[in-house]
Every structure is written in C-alpha cells, then in structure tokens.
C-alpha cells in the first residue's frame, strides 16, 4: 500500500526536529547545567525544553525556534523555580574589588576543570552571563535577551562578572602555588 504524503511529511518533520535537537543539545545541556549545577536537574530542564520546542513547532510551524529560543526557555523554566533575589551578591562584589586579577598568560595554564569549578561556584547572576559569553560566545545584546535584562544591565553585569572571575582564578592560582611550595622538599 503506498504511503500517504502525510506520512512522508510527518517523517520529514520528525527527522528535522531530531536534527534540531542534535545541533542544539550540547548548547542546551551546558547552559542547563550552569543553571542548575546538577545533572539530573539539567537533564529534566533540557528534556522539557525540547518537548516544548517540538510542541510549538507543531502548533506554529512559523515560530522561530532556534538556539536563542532554547536558551531563553531554559532560563525561564529555571527562573520559575528560582526567583531572583534583588541585592544578592553585593557583599561578594564589594569584597572582591581590591583583589588582584589573573593575567591571561597564567589563565592559560589553568586546568579546564579548575576554571569550570570556579565558574560554577559563582552566583547565578555572574555565572550565567559568563557562560553565555564564553561557552556560547554571545554578545551582550543576545545575553540581555536570553536573561531578560536591559542591555545596559547585561553590559555592567558582564564587566563585573569578568573582573570577579579573574580575581577568583588568581586566588586559586596563588593557593595552588602556595600549596606546591609547601609540599616541595627543602634544598638543604
């Protein structure tokens, strides 16, 4: 029995959506993990987001469901369960202003796992802008859109977050260097 055109159309649409998921999974998962800091929660966030994407594409084939939509939706879903506290992290920001920052030469020597651990130890305000800036290489305009910030706020937050990251990386580098010095045998 010949296949109907509808069957062929459905298979094409399914195939295209699978391609969409494959293209965007890494981006989605990285950001979901940065939001939730736990693999099971990241998995759930990603699953429900792609489920919503598929539903939306079926209902509104012309809807712009792309990488930015995925990141916006992930953030919105996470925010629904984690309301933003205004004025949070001020103490952390103020305390960090006088510290030394890591140079790019030293930053290049740091292990990826160390840098990631430090990024994930930062508050959501900081780690999300940095994640979008460094992982996804987005500009401040897109970052503002995804995180639902005014562009000026995204600019300020990004600048502040980069300063804080460099200070934390330098703190980690010095701590490691001091530890190594303490462990090395004396020259006597």
């Amino acid at each position: 029995m010949p296949r109907s055109d509808q069957d062929g159309g459905h298979e094409r649409a399914t195939g295209k959506f699978e391609d969409f998921v494959e293209e965007n999974f890494a981006t989605a998962y990285r950001f979901a993990f940065c939001l939730s800091l736990a693999h099971d929660r990241a998995r759930r966030l990603v699953e429900t987001t792609f489920h919503d994407a598929e539903d939306l594409r079926k209902k509104e084939p012309r809807a712009k469901v792309d990488k930015t939509w995925v990141l916006e939706t992930l953030h919105r879903k996470w925010r629904a369960c984690h309301p933003v506290r205004s004025g949070a992290d001020r103490e952390e920001d103020i305390a960090a202003t006088a510290e030394a920052s890591i140079s790019f030469e030293h930053a290049g020597d740091l292990d990826c796992d160390v840098v990631l651990k430090i990024l994930h130890s930062m508050s959501p305000d900081h780690r999300l802008v940095l994640s979008l800036f460094y992982f996804e290489q987005l500009g401040h305009g897109e970052i503002a859109r995804i995180l639902e910030l005014a562009p000026e706020t995204a600019l300020s937050r990004l600048a502040q977050s980069k300063v804080l990251l460099r200070q934390l990386l330098e703190r980690s580098r010095r701590a490691y260097a001091a530890e190594r010095q303490g462990c090395e045998p004396s020259a006597d």
Partner: protein, 74 residues
C-alpha cells in the same frame, strides 16, 4: 565618557560580531587609537577572553558516563 565607563563597555566587546557596528562601542573603540595604555589593556582583555573560550571548548556537554550527579567533569 571616562576610562572606567570605556573599560566597562570594552570588556563586553566581541570582535567579529555585530558589536563592531553597535554605536555603543563607537567612542570606546575610537579612544583605543589615541590611548596606548587603554589599547594595551584592551589587548590583554581580548587575550584573556580568547584563553577562556579555548579553555571552555574542552568542556564536555553532557552528563557523565557513570550517571553520577554533581559538578560536570570529563
């Protein structure tokens, strides 16, 4: 615009994107031509960004194979 404000904007600047055409970056980028110290600072900032992008490129984007929860690891 003072240097503090200029640096705040330049810290977000991404070469090779629409940032180059964004009016918000016009004055900061022009200032680089006349301020060697600022230009040197900007070069170092861009180098740091390049190092971070390269570092994060090595991060796997998926759950660990052993199914463990917690911080993402290789």
């Amino acid at each position: 615009m003072d240097n503090v404000e200029i640096k705040k904007l330049l810290q977000s600047f991404r070469k090779g994107t629409t940032d180059s055409d964004d009016p918000i970056f016009r004055e900061p980028l022009e200032r680089l031509g006349s301020d060697p110290a600022l230009a040197a600072w900007f070069r170092a900032e861009q180098e740091f960004d390049a190092v971070m992008v390269a570092t994060f490129r090595n991060v796997p984007a998926g759950p660990p194979a052993d199914g463990a929860d917690g911080p993402e690891r290789r």
